[in-house]
Amino acid sequence: MFQNDRLNNEITLFEKIKNLDYILVTSVILLSIVSVFVMYSTDGGEILFHTKNHFVKLSVFFPLMIFIAFFNLKFWHNFSYVFYFLVILLLIWVSFFGIKSSGSQRWLDAYLFVLQPSELMKVAIILCLAKYYHRLKIENVNSLTSIVVVLSIILVPIIFVISQPDLGTSILIASSGLIILWLGGVKIKYFIYSFIAFLISLPFIISFLKPYQKLRILTFLDPDRDPLGAGYQIIQSKIAIGSGGFEGKGFLKGTQSYLDFLPEKHTDFIFTLFSEEFGFIGSIGLLLLYSIIIFRIIRIGSISRSNFARLFCFGYAFAIFIYIVVNLSMVLGLLPIVGSPLPIMSYGGSSMLATMIGFGIVLSAKINHKQIIS
């Protein structure tokens, strides 16, 4: 054990590079390449604004991921709370000085780019809670104080995000946080009780929803009630995916997106365009690529010796899974429309930044998987 500890601390750069998880890195590179091509297709087969920006972001954030991976895992452990509080500060900053766009205030002007702190919170909360449960004794997991503390950790950012308003991101933050609670060992009956309580209070929650959010739920239940208005996005998205068929319409041949029938094709509906052009086969391939990424992250978690790394990897794997499920369910008409990007594929810097930070920490856990954090 002591030997190991010493070994870990004296790990060389060469060994770090050698210990990188190449399956994960390759998958991320593959995904990035696919995303650039799809972005090229959304630009109508030309290298325009979105393609250029997406490529630039990838070429900045991918090295950032490797850079993060080379930090000692202990650094991330020590940095967790700071990172969480920094993001909270950014959220407070946004609620005062954020950029307003189409009725919500989510963004910060960082001169070079526009930052959406709520996206960073998706990673920060996992990091923060992983550390908390890593340090918490198993006997105290179900104590009142610890439950109150973790619930506050989750609720504080959610209050800020929901008031932006941004329902989609707050749901993702909440589920990322709750999964750590689950992994940390909070009693299953608590989950069941709160789920029942949630169901009972659902009518009250709905009455607090904004009119456009209610409309989205109604539209989800029956998209045809307003096919040219609220239901338009989901109807057109289903048409695009359905018309793709087995093989798809071919690269750059998706009529639904080319002729502008698809809404928000760069961001939340990027999968629709992909699925229209590459069909069932392409979609399964993409899901497979995501599955490999998730599986690798879980695998890294399970070989990690520290519970911090384990909790973070499992939590992050679940978060990625949730992002994908929520996004795909939305474009496939299985869930109401909530704004949620598809990791790496969707256009958007903050989302990509957060995802790459997460991957970086996972890679760092891989490099330092023998490390024990006291």
Binding site: G185, G245, L259, F280, S283, I284, S302, N307
Partner: protein, 640 residues
């Protein structure tokens, strides 16, 4: 080891819980794959159709109307290339400048400019605005010369209805124009094929035969984007021109009718006495139907509407006139058929007849003396016919008259404006006026005055049926699928039968009891035109090739007062409105007759002076064209 136990326990908890989540993940991913499968594989067809519906839009183009030709194949309603001017707003750099240029080039009115601006605001920027529907050639050339300066302007060649014989056929064909909303909804075929700018039949055969003439739309398929802008053309599907319809009419004769009635209000109808073919049917005055194609100007419309000779009324079909003396052949025939009189029966005409204290005047004040049927017909003696109808009674007269087509529509299925006229009887008066029939009314009915009302076409058909030996014919204006040649028709008539196109069998169409009686009436009509003292003797033609038999008629439009009778005014001295209508019915050639005609000149004075001379001029032409018509084979078969 003990120390590390809780750590191991914690790891176990995490791993166990991870396993549960992992299982859930697989289930959820499987669900998403299932959903993808159902959308992309199972329902692929449905969504592919929806996607095509999204991206492909069809543009219907106006269909090309079928031609209408006369018996000889001359186009009387055709299609003409016209030049239109369109503006495509999104291609225009400076709209106001362009309008200014066009205003100067085409002399557009301010109102028109306003309309264009209004359209521009209403339409999508890529929808074309029609500036002018019908550019003249010189305007078209001018526009093409300045095209470099008129960016966004598109000269377009398209097809429009055209009536080459102008006013000659207006009352037969009607005209086409842009339909209003009601007219579109009324006709399912029009509703289905309607496109803006399309014109439909508004009147006459153009309206009646709309569904045959209309043709099918050409269809252009375009790929469009979500905003409806055309991206590229995928397909062009040609439309089919509407049916070509051949009429029985002869343009030369139709035009001659127009010439003969120039400046007069009236009507001429010419009919084949065996086949029922309408050779000509002209109502005067007429108007140019081409004026309506692109919207008639207010001034021109007022000119037509306010013309005292009423060009808008189709006098042949919906003009109701007292037949006057032209009814006398029917009165004579009815009396003969009912054995009320014979050829030896004579009446003494003293110029008037007294009945129950009322005086009934003959047109000749001095009277005709003792007259037989032949002389009475020849000189149109009213007293003779007063006496004959008194003996005959109105009901028996009505019976014969209705058999010969009076009081019934002649072409009713083709012209909804056709009137059926009236031939009164005692029952009619009781039912409609609630009063009993008075014998005096029988007397004036016998000379074609009183309640009796007939259309010019009815009088023509009546004459045709006397001329062909007393057989019922079915007049027609469209050459149908199996036209009966005149020989076939004549032969079957001589056998006492007539081919019926509806039941496709030979039927007994005799209108008489004794063929001899028809002959007597025919001879009487011959003498009226071809013997001295005959009312139309002056209009006779001696050449047996053209020789015709006829009967004049002068229909009073108002009761003649005693004072007026004493004054015996000249035509010019009577106000136009009060002048008598001049009528003439005739058939010819007398030997082997072929054609019957009826002529009416409103307020023309007397039949012998105004109407009969027209017949003389017309008969020469009709008979000269007879051989030509016979030689004309039935070159086209159509089904209506």
């Amino acid at each position: 080891m003990i120390k590390s136990k809780p750590g191991i326990r914690k790891t176990d908890v995490i791993n166990r819980r991870m396993f549960i989540i992992g299982a859930a993940k697989i289930v959820v991913f499987a669900g998403i794959v299932a959903r993808l499968f159902s959308l992309q594989i199972n329902e692929n067809k449905k969504y592919l159709t929806l996607s095509d519906k999204n991206r492909i839009r069809e543009w219907k183009l106006p269909p090309t109307r079928g031609d209408i030709v006369d018996y000889f194949g001359n186009v009387i309603a055709g299609n003409l290339k016209v030049y239109q001017l369109h503006i495509i707003p999104e291609q225009v750099e400076n709209f106001n400048y362009l309008l200014l240029r066009l205003k100067n080039l085409l002399e557009l009115s301010d109102k028109k400019i306003q309309r264009i601006n209004k359209l521009k605001a209403e339409l999508k920027p890529w929808d074309s605005i029609i500036v002018s529907e019908n550019l003249s050639w010189s305007q078209f050339v001018k526009i093409n010369n300045y095209l470099y300066d008129l960016i966004g302007v598109k000269p377009v060649m398209t097809i429009s209805r055209n009536y080459p014989f102008k006013e000659a056929y207006t009352h037969v064909l009607g005209y086409v124009s842009q339909p209003n909303e009601k007219e579109i909804l009324e006709n399912e075929v029009v509703q289905e094929r309607f496109v803006p700018g399309m014109k439909i039949g508004k009147l006459g055969l153009e309206k009646r035969l709309e569904n045959h003439l209309i043709g099918t739309n050409a269809i252009q398929r375009y790929e469009v984007n979500a905003y409806g802008k055309r991206i590229n053309q995928l397909e062009h599907q040609k439309g089919e021109q509407g049916l070509k319809i051949r009429l029985t009419v002869d343009t030369e004769i139709q035009k001659a009718c127009g010439g003969l009635l120039k400046g007069k209000a009236g009507s001429i109808s010419v009919m084949d006495i065996y086949t029922g073919d309408i050779i000509a049917m002209y109502s005067s005055p007429s108007y140019d139907p081409n004026l309506f194609l692109f919207g008639i100007s207010q001034d021109e419309w007022q000119l037509i509407r306010n013309n005292p000779l009423k060009p808008l009324v189709n006098k042949t079909l919906s003009g109701l006139y007292s037949p006057g003396s032209t009814i006398k052949p029917i009165v004579a025939l009815s009396a003969l058929e009912n054995n009320v009189i014979n050829t030896k029966f004579k009446v003494k005409c003293t110029g008037k007849m007294e009945l129950y204290g009322q005086t009934f005047h003959c047109w000749k004040e001095k009277g005709h003396g003792w007259v037989s049927l032949k002389n009475a017909m020849k000189q149109s003696c009213d007293t003779y016919f007063y006496e004959v109808s008194r003996l005959l009674g109105v009901d028996r007269l009505n019976n014969t008259a209705e058999k010969f087509g009076l009081g019934k529509k002649v072409l009713g299925e083709y012209f909804d404006i056709e009137k059926k006229g009236l031939f009164p009887n005692t029952k009619w008066k009781k039912n409609n006026l609630g009063k009993g029939w008075v014998l005096g009314e029988t007397l004036i009915t016998g000379i074609g005055q009183g309640y009796i009302q007939s259309t010019p076409l009815q009088l023509c058909m009546m004459t045709a049926q006397i001329a062909n030996g007393g057989y019922a014919i079915k007049p027609k204006i469209i050459v149908d699928n199996n036209p009966l040649s005149f020989e076939e028709a004549k032969q079957s008539m001589e056998k006492g039968l007539l081919y019926d196109t509806e039941t496709k069998s030979f039927k007994d169409k005799k209108l008489f009891k004794d063929k001899k009686n028809i002959k007597i009436v025919q001879e009487a009509m011959f003498s009226s035109t071809n013997e001295r003292f005959g009312t139309s003797y002056r209009s006779r033609i001696d050449d047996p090739r053209y020789q015709f038999a006829g009967k004049t008629g002068t229909a009073q439009v108002k009761r003649i007062s005693k004072r007026e009778r004493e004054l015996d005014l000249e035509l010019e001295q009577i106000p136009y409105k009060d002048r008598d209508h001049a009528l003439y019915v005739a058939y010819g050639p007398y030997i082997n007759p072929r054609y019957a005609l009826s002529i009416i000149v409103e307020h023309g004075g007397s039949g012998s002076r105004t109407a009969a001379p027209i017949a003389k001029k017309l008969f020469k032409l009709i008979i000269d064209r007879h051989d030509l018509r016979n030689k004309q084979s039935n070159f086209e078969r159509i089904t209506i």
